[in-house]
């Protein structure tokens, strides 16, 4: 039985067994998403708050759907500003949530480290739904899930992460997760978007797109956000597309089985061409579907931990799922 940490703050520091347990649990849940009756009573009576301090549609909906499929009671807090804008410290915010007896807090915040601060001050399980440029562990897990679905064991596989690595929490969670599972990771993107000493995370840095993808089994394309980070880091979308966009011409130089992922939302014509985004070699919508299953697994496994219950193992999870859907 693999013990999981109390909180899911990041994939950094998690080992192959912990990650595999979450992914295997997600597989049990993935099946029920294709059934006509998609709801199970697994988390009935549990209360989960989705605290989104930064705008998000995709991740918030994915979490909420996952929680509803598990019959949890769900509360949403959305605030584009920080807690400070209301004159309240983050610690006070979490104390209030604590006082309302939440079992689990899903937190998204524009600043790195906020989930760590919350975890220090609450008994609820804290799930990081993206913090600044730090981590987005459930995105990392759903990416791993999708890769495993296509490739099986990821040990020895080659994954290229492409784009604005410096500002990307998706990149960091992917790197830590992939390294834990034994994959080779190459990061590629403009020098101005490559953070210092990224190679010390155990990745290869490559500034030439074709060299970066030539051995890849998977290309994970990150969203470029010129609107957020301005153009002081880069001349602009046109220059970017000419150097780093994934289009059919680039895909033709890759291995035959190589496929393309993207965490969304896509900038068609910037980091990914429309023909690739709609083409046969991408799994972008499968990622979205798998995301719900992965988040069901995360809510299930970490809510159980927070309640101090004996962790159910994977077969028990399957049994719960089967029993519930009968």
């Amino acid at each position: 039985m693999i013990q999981l940490p109390k909180h899911l703050l990041g994939l950094e520091g998690m080992n192959v067994h912990e990650i595999t347990r979450i992914l295997d649990t997600a597989r049990s849940f993935r099946e029920i998403l294709d059934r006509p009756m998609k709801k199970v009573p697994t988390l009935r009576g549990r209360t989960i708050v989705n605290a989104f301090f930064e705008p998000s549609t995709r991740t918030r909906v994915s979490f909420e759907l996952a929680q509803k499929r598990l019959s949890a009671d769900v509360v949403n807090i959305s605030s584009s500003g920080s807690s400070l804008s209301k004159g309240e410290t983050l610690r006070d915010t979490v104390a209030n949530l604590e006082a309302m007896r939440m079992d689990m807090i899903i937190v998204r915040h524009g600043m790195s480290g906020v989930p760590y601060m919350l975890a220090e001050h609450t008994n609820a399980a804290v799930i990081n739904a993206g913090d600044g440029a730090h981590e987005h562990p459930t995105q990392g897990l759903l990416d791993l899930y999708t890769m495993r679905e296509r490739l099986g064991d990821l040990a020895g596989r080659h994954v290229t992460i492409l784009g604005d690595v410096a500002h990307s929490r998706v990149a960091r969670s992917n790197i830590h997760g992939l390294r834990a599972l034994g994959a080779h990771v190459t990061v590629c993107g403009p020098r101005t978007m490559m953070p210092k000493q990224i190679e010390d995370l155990g990745v290869t840095v490559e500034y030439d797109l074709r060299r970066a993808v030539q051995n890849a089994d998977v290309i994970n394309v990150l969203r470029i956000q010129f609107e957020r980070h301005g153009t002081s880091n880069f001349p602009g979308a046109r220059e970017y597309a000419r150097l780093f966009a994934i289009n059919n011409e680039v895909l033709e130089t890759t291995r035959p089985g190589c496929f393309v992922m993207h965490p969304g939302p896509m900038n068609r014509g910037v980091e990914i061409s429309a023909e690739v985004a709609d083409g046969p070699r991408q799994v972008i919508l499968q990622q979205v579907t798998n995301g719900v299953a992965v988040r069901m697994a995360v809510c299930y496994l970490f809510a159980a931990g927070a309640q101090g219950e004996a962790d159910a193992d994977v077969s028990a999870t399957s049994a719960a799922v089967s029993a519930a859907t009968m």
Partner: protein, 449 residues
């Protein structure tokens, strides 16, 4: 507000202690005869000639150093008294063995005129725990746009000039500031930083900023600022003091300026930069957030070496209190600065004397004589005729830094709950005992090993 100073004789002999005198580089057991606030006799390896009617105070097992001098503290008064005021700051100072401090002028309003200098100095005297001095602002309101009135502030008692907390962005203005200050015989204290490179940063740029996903401040940000200010000091011939040096490159530049360019420059290092690195930011606690930020291990090693060899002349705490509610914010939103008066000696003693074999007399120099000489202060000497400003220290005592025991109003000390070696057990300012270690019960609960 007047602080009660414990009943203490006006004349006494300190006996049984280890006397450490940076001025003569002596370190030996001996006695100090104190009368009416001054040392009237200092005897190494012997006894004072005072008669039996003079009370003896036995400090056996303790070292006696000249009262420590910190040329870089933020006491937040006027304007931000909820973080610290001159009273609580003075208490923190004497608890750390400091008898003289120099307040930075980034108060609200800024200390940028003679009348504010007078007000602040008068408050320090009224509280009367230690010698409170201040630096005046380089530019009016610290706005970086026009020079403040240096002569006015000098006459009121300002010791130096600085816009500490922010650099003077305009190099031409910095040049004029150095020239005007130099003409008046005042040292300019530079907070050297190229703001364009630190604009969005919250920690040192390196492996840990990458791993933690926190925008970084590159070492070059400080080094460009240091290079600029050294070149302007060279150009003008004015005396310059570089505050809170944090990078290896800045140390190299200062050495170059001292040895090759003949610049009249001194520099300081802060205890937190000497002992901690950017790795502490794991966990995102703003108690490790300051400007300049904690740097990498190579920088830390270079700073230690520079303090040992004297390239960095002195240690200064950059004691910067912030209320808990401010430090409990998101890392990127929390203000910069940490407090350090109460742990400075123990941190430096642990890191440099115990850790690196630095002679105790050299540490005493960096923490008293060197700042005294640079800023024209009395102190740094155990000698007849000197003010009896003394730090009494148990060098062997291992103690844990407890938040509840801090005298500062704030708790943003990066060494909380750490075990340090060497504890200030008593502080004497102008002959009066202004600090004695907490009650024996508290102390024993604190002691480690």
């Amino acid at each position: 507000m007047q602080f009660e100073v414990e009943e203490f004789p006006t004349e006494y002999v300190l006996t049984g202690g280890l006397l450490v005198d940076p001025a003569t580089r002596q370190e030996a057991s001996g006695e100090i005869h104190v009368r009416d606030g001054r040392m009237v006799q200092v005897v190494f390896q012997g006894t004072c000639s005072a008669g039996d009617d003079v009370p003896r105070i036995d400090v056996a097992g303790q070292a006696i150093l000249p009262g420590l001098i910190d040329v870089h503290v933020h006491f937040r008064e006027p304007g931000h008294e909820y973080k610290e005021d001159i009273g609580s700051g003075s208490q923190a100072a004497v608890a750390g063995g400091f008898t003289t401090v120099v307040m930075m002028p980034n108060t609200e309003p800024a200390i940028d005129s003679g009348s504010i200098v007078e007000t602040v100095l008068k408050r320090g005297r009224t509280i009367g725990l230690c010698n409170v001095h201040c630096a005046g602002a380089l530019t009016s309101g610290r706005g970086g746009e026009r020079l403040a009135e240096y002569y006015d502030m000098k006459n009121a008692g300002a010791l130096a000039l600085t816009d500490d907390g922010s650099p003077v962005v305009n190099a031409a203005l910095m040049r004029r500031a150095l020239e005007h200050a130099g003409m008046l015989g005042l040292v300019t204290v530079a907070h050297s930083e190229e703001k364009a490179l630190s604009a969005n940063g919250h920690m040192h740029e390196g492996y840990w900023s990458t791993q933690l996903g926190v925008p970084g401040i590159p070492a070059a940000c400080e080094e460009i600022g240091v290079a600029r200010d050294l070149l302007l000091a060279k150009e003008t011939g004015a005396p310059l003091h570089i505050a809170h040096v944090s990078t290896r490159g800045a140390v190299d530049l200062i050495l170059l300026a001292k040895q090759q360019w003949g610049v009249d420059v001194t520099a300081e290092a802060a205890p937190h930069h000497l002992e901690l690195t950017d790795r502490e930011l794991v966990g995102y606690s703003a108690d490790f957030k300051m400007n300049p930020p904690l740097r990498g291990e190579a920088d830390r090693q270079a700073l230690q070496q520079a303090v040992i060899d004297g390239t960095l002349d002195m240690i200064a705490t950059d004691h910067a209190p912030h209320a808990p509610m401010e430090k409990e914010l998101e890392l990127e939103r929390a203000p910069v600065g940490v407090i350090g008066l109460e742990t400075a000696f123990a941190v430096c003693h642990t890191a440099l004397v115990v850790g690196k074999g630095l002679a105790l007399v050299d540490l005493a120099t960096r923490m008293s004589l060197a700042p005294a000489q640079r800023f024209g202060l009395e102190g740094g000497r155990l000698a007849e005729g000197q003010m009896a400003d003394l730090a009494i220290i148990d060098l062997e005592q291992r103690w844990r830094v407890r938040p509840a025991h801090l005298k500062s109003k704030s708790r943003n000390n990066p060494f909380l709950n750490r075990i340090l070696r060497g504890r200030v057990t008593g502080t004497i300012c102008a002959g009066r005992r202004v600090h004695a270690a907490t009650s024996s019960r508290e102390t024993s609960a604190d002691l480690v090993g």
